[in-house]
Structure formats: structure tokens, C-alpha cells
Symmetry: C2
Subunit: 366 residues, 2 copies
């Protein structure tokens, strides 16, 4: 039998999938990282402190002061740019729904031992910053710069690899008008845990692309091969098999569990009769939501969609459920304008990424 | 064998203690409730969104608007008082460290199945509000009013009992100058999850006393017997045995884990040599911290205490660790001015309350 807890600083093996009860390390990650409370889906823009949060390593302690970003690699004018200088470039505010690529991991059977998200790793905020392209244009990308890498200051080990968090984007993506260097969230300075003083926001993508605590931008003629780019955040149907990069969010919807909960099990109780059910739906890459259905005990009815709140923001929806006394299962299913629909059962991935299966909520009506 | 998941709406039994891996319901609670990130102990006042949070039921959705509190029971002038009226009474701002009474529960063996806190359910904020006594004096307590009960709007089931969250204080405690009706946190309006628009803050007590979403204040000639007062938040060495109410926080200290972490196990790696170790210590009831010791592999050295930041706020401390290459265990131990010292091993309680045993952090030096 293998050592259940080999040296984490040297062991490069993938952790084997597990089933059933949760390991203390999974609980440790659940205690560190936080999701939205599903009842807070009522808020169009997620209030401070309720936005989901996934940090691989420690949240850096950055006392107030100067911050600068190094611009390096395949540019004509390498150097540093001060945050204050970045703030003087033209800025935009975008309402963006972000979701962790591992959202839904704990609902998979078996599951990859990592952050055991249920459905709560999604939120919406208004991000203010300057389009990254302004900084890249100032630095003058060389013709062979095919990728832009983003390096942060949070550092640690993962599967035996010591590294600072880093990700890259292909040049055409990085030059898009909506990729932002961000210093404000919901009209206030970034909170420490959301990347203070400067972070990247890549709308339409899963959250791993939106690098926090950004310290270095590197134009590259070769693909970026950092751990977070090539060794994780890849869809792998088989643990050591072929891999596809995780990019845009998949279509998904959630509902606010109606009624009142039981403290420990979170089972729900409602009064029989008409129950207003409310939720949100979103997809990736700026694709609008075309349809949301509310499922009651396996029967589907169309929900009403609220007016869109921006290309990258989730879409509110509501439906009326006439609840009869007894036990029920509610669910919801979104379809986007590209015709993608949420699967009814788990979408398996060996690393626990991209599971956009429908949420199911058990409710007792009395 | 008992049904592992009986009807939560009717089953009034205490859950049996467990050991080893964690149940999905415990993980569900860890996903809903959030602790401070230990590295955020660096901040004297915990930034928004990093303050620990324990909500028994759903966080109420309170759209902006009017709010009023009902004053009832053994008072000469019952009625309602509007929040805007409360805000016109004299106000104070207090820096207060709050800790959940269940902090340290997951470190107990065996443990009670509930919110599986490690050490992270503690934070410090600046709370602005009016002393409760101003409102009680306006209402004119009758002579036989021996307890003041505080009823909130969050509602649900716990061990088969349906109730809104409520707690009480004895009259002399409630009339203390430092018990506040609070509408602002760290200079900003209360966040929804911290009790918007009005909550109680009872400095020096574990967090359960500081009722959020406060809607009703009831002066009573008889003891308040709500579920959260009599059926939980009691120290019980034996599950069905005699019980003592949970009140003031016990003396405790934490350290910021030094170095860098491994993502999954959170094991720490530091460079050998001098390592500055930083932490916080606090006690209950306004008792100051007298001493903090840093433990390295079981050897204790005195830490330096920072100047106090108020009667109810934690106290910073720091110490120097000369790390030699190899495996180490760091710990810290506080003693308060009343002579209470943290125990080195778990302080057993059948409900998982009040475990102020020392934190232990495994660190590799290279």
C-alpha cells in the first residue's frame, strides 16, 4: 500500500481519485477557499466578501506602497511600468462573471482530491482596469511574440513543483479589448485576497486565467510551460492520457435553494403552494444565455430570463413552482446561444474540471 | 445500524461523535462558512471578506430600505424603533476580536459533526453602533426584567427544532457600555453576511452572542429558552450530561505559518536561518494577554508583545526562530492576565466548543 501522505515537496505523482468521505486535506482547502452563498445569487453584483475565492498559495501581504510590473521577453521596449502609470492609461469597467474551473468537483464520482467545490465557485463583480493591450502596445511586441505570460508573486509547491503562480494567453487573446489589468473591484480598491494591488481579468474564461498579484508580463516566442499552464487546468478523461487546455467557462445555471434550511444537512423546507424560484445562468466566451428550464421532479418548464446585464455577466431567471406537499427535487438547466446545454449527469474529468452538470436541490413541501 | 441520514426536520437526536474522514455535510458547512486565512493575521484589522463567518441558516436578502426593531416584553414602553432613530443615538466604535465558539472543533478526536473549523474562526473588526443600553433605557426596563433576548430573522431547523436564531444576555451584561447595536463595520455599512442592516456585538464573548439581522429585543422575567441558548452553545463533557453555558472567549494564540505552502497539504517550507514568526493572541471578557511563547520542537521561548490595540482586540506578537535544516513543529501558547494558559492538548467537549489547545504547524527548513 502506498504511503498515504508522501513528502509533498518531492512527490510529483498525481493523487489517485477517491470516493466517499473527505480527506482532512480536502477540508483544509474548503476552509481556506470560499464560495458564494447560493442565497447571494439574489445580488446582481456579488457583495464584497461573498465573491468566490480560490488561492493556490498564501494571499501575499502587500503593505500599501509602490507596485510595478516588469515587462520582459519579446518586446522592443522591455522595462518596468509603475501601477500609477498603468492607472493613467484609458480605463474601463466590466461586469464579469467568474467561475472556478474546479466548480462541481465534489459532485463527481469518483473525485480528484483537491478543492472540493460543490456549486458555489461562481460570482460576479465589476472590475475596473486598463485593457492589457495598452501596456503591450507601449512595450511594442516583436513579431515572434506568440504568447503573453503573466507571473504573480504567490509562490509554493504543487505535486512536487515549486513555482510562482503563472498563466499565459495567446497573443490575439491578450490583445482583445476586454482583457484588463485591474486595480478596482465593485468601485473599491482590490481586496488583498482578490489580487491587490493589480490583477488580470480575462472575461469569459474560467478563473485560473485571471492571474492575481501580477508582477511580470512576459512576451514569448515559445509556449509558456509553467506548472499551472501545462500540468493542471487541462481536461484529461484519463489521468495520464491526452489533455485539452481549460479555457472558456461552460454553460451553467444555479438556483437559490427556496424555503428554509436545516443547519447540518442544508435540506430545504417550503410551504406548499406557489413558490417563486430564482437563479442565474451564464456561459463562456461572451456567449449569451438562450434558455433556462426549471426542473421539478424531472419535469422541465421554461423559466423567464431577466434582461442581460452585459456580455460577460450572468443572466437572472425566475420561474413559478406550484409545490405540492411531499418530497421534491428541483434542478435547472441552461442552454446558450451556441446551442450548448448542461448535461443531466456529471461530466467526468480526472482533475475535476469543467463539471457543468445540473444542480439538484432536495426540498420538502409541507 | 441507525439510519445514517434520518429526516432532519423531525430527528431531535444529537449526532454521534465521529473520527477520521469527513462527512459530505461537514464539507458542505465548510464551503458555506469561511474562516480567516491565517496569513491575514498580519492585518491588525481583518480586511472585508476575510473576517470569519458562521451563519446557521441562510443569509437574509435585505434590499435597501427601512428596518425597525421591535422592543417587547417587560418594558414600560414597548413598541418599535427605526434603525434611523437608533443611528441618531450616541455611537461608539470598538475594535473587537470575535471568535466562533466552535473554533478548533475539527482538531478534536473524536469530533462532533458540525462546522469543522480548524483554527481560522477568529477575526478583528471595528464595529460602530450605539450602546444597547440607550435603547433599553428609552424603553424603561421593568424591575423584573432579568434577561434580554435578541431575535433575528434568519430561520431554519436544527436537530428537529424550527426556530429563528436568538440568544439572550443577563440584564447587567446587556446594560454594559460595550454591548453595541451595530450598523457599520470597518467604517462601511454592514455587509449582508455580517448582519446588514443591524446586529448586536458583545465584546469579549464568543461570536454566538453577537446576533446578526436583529429584529426583536425582548425583556424577560423568565430565562430565554430558545434552541441556540439552551440546546447548543453549552459545554458538555458528556453528550447528554450536565451543561455549562458558553460565554467569554478562552485565551488563545495563533501564528502565521511561515515560508511557502504546498497547495494540497498546506505543509510549509522555509529557508534555514533566521525566520521572523508573527502571530496574534487574545482572551475573553476584556482580559489582557500577559505572555506569548513560541514553541519550536517542544522548546518554548518568550515572544515580544506588540502594544495593545484596545481592550477587546487581539494583541500582535513576534519572535525569531533560528531554523536548522530539517523537520520542525512550531506552536504558540498564550497566557492572559488572569493566569489562564492554553492547554497543550485538546480540551474535550462533546459539541466541539471552546477548544483553545495550541496550534501546531509542521515546517520543513531547507
Amino acid at each position: 500500500m502506498p504511503n498515504p501522505d508522501p513528502n509533498p515537496f518531492t512527490n510529483t505523482n498525481r493523487r489517485p481519485a477517491v470516493d466517499g468521505p473527505f480527506h482532512a486535506h480536502e477540508v483544509g482547502l474548503a476552509l481556506r477557499n470560499s464560495g458564494i452563498l447560493l442565497e447571494a445569487l439574489r445580488h446582481e453584483v456579488t457583495p464584497a466578501g461573498l465573491h468566490y475565492l480560490l488561492s493556490h498559495f498564501d494571499v501575499p501581504y502587500v503593505p500599501d506602497g509602490t507596485w510595478q510590473v516588469e515587462i520582459a521577453g519579446r518586446v522592443r521596449r522591455p522595462g518596468t511600468i509603475a501601477l500609477e502609470e498603468i492607472k493613467r492609461l484609458p480605463s474601463r469597467t466590466l461586469r464579469v462573471t467568474l467561475e472556478c474551473a474546479g466548480n462541481g468537483r465534489a459532485a463527481m464520482t469518483p473525485r480528484y482530491p483537491s478543492m472540493p467545490w460543490g456549486h458555489e465557485a461562481v460570482s460576479t463583480a465589476e472590475w475596473t482596469g486598463t485593457p492589457l493591450r495598452h501596456v503591450l502596445e507601449r512595450a511594442e511586441l516583436l513579431d515572434d511574440a506568440m504568447e503573453i505570460a503573466f507571473l504573480a508573486i504567490d509562490r509554493g509547491f504543487d505535486r512536487g513543483h515549486e513555482h510562482a503562480y503563472g498563466r499565459s494567453l495567446l497573443r490575439p487573446t491578450a490583445l482583445g479589448e476586454d482583457v484588463l489589468l485591474v486595480w478596482a473591484m465593485n468601485g473599491a480598491p482590490l481586496l488583498p485576497q482578490h489580487g491587490y494591488p493589480l490583477r488580470l481579468i480575462v472575461p469569459g474564461w474560467y478563473g485560473m486565467a485571471s492571474v492575481k498579484w501580477l508582477a511580470r508580463i512576459e512576451a514569448r516566442a515559445e509556449p509558456y510551460d509553467g506548472f499551472q499552464q501545462v500540468s493542471t487546468y487541462r481536461y484529461r478523461p484519463v489521468p495520464e492520457g491526452p489533455a485539452t487546455p481549460v479555457t472558456h467557462m461552460r454553460v451553467k445555471s444555479l438556483l437559490v435553494p427556496p424555503g428554509i434550511p436545516d443547519f447540518y444537512t442544508r435540506r430545504r423546507m417550503v410551504e406548499a403552494g406557489p413558490v417563486a424560484v430564482f437563479g442565474r445562468a451564464w456561459s463562456g466566451g461572451g456567449t449569451p444565455i438562450a434558455r433556462v428550464q426549471l426542473g421539478v421532479d424531472g419535469h422541465w418548464q421554461d423559466a423567464h430570463l431577466d434582461p442581460p446585464q452585459g456580455r460577460y455577466a450572468w443572466c437572472g431567471w425566475h420561474a413559478l413552482w406550484r409545490a405540492h406537499v411531499g418530497e421534491h427535487e428541483l434542478s435547472c438547466r441552461a442552454t446558450d446561444a451556441a446551442g450548448e446545454t448542461q448535461p443531466l449527469t456529471q461530466r467526468w474529468d480526472s482533475g475535476g474540471f469543467g463539471n457543468n452538470a445540473v444542480q439538484r436541490v432536495e426540498v420538502t413541501a409541507r
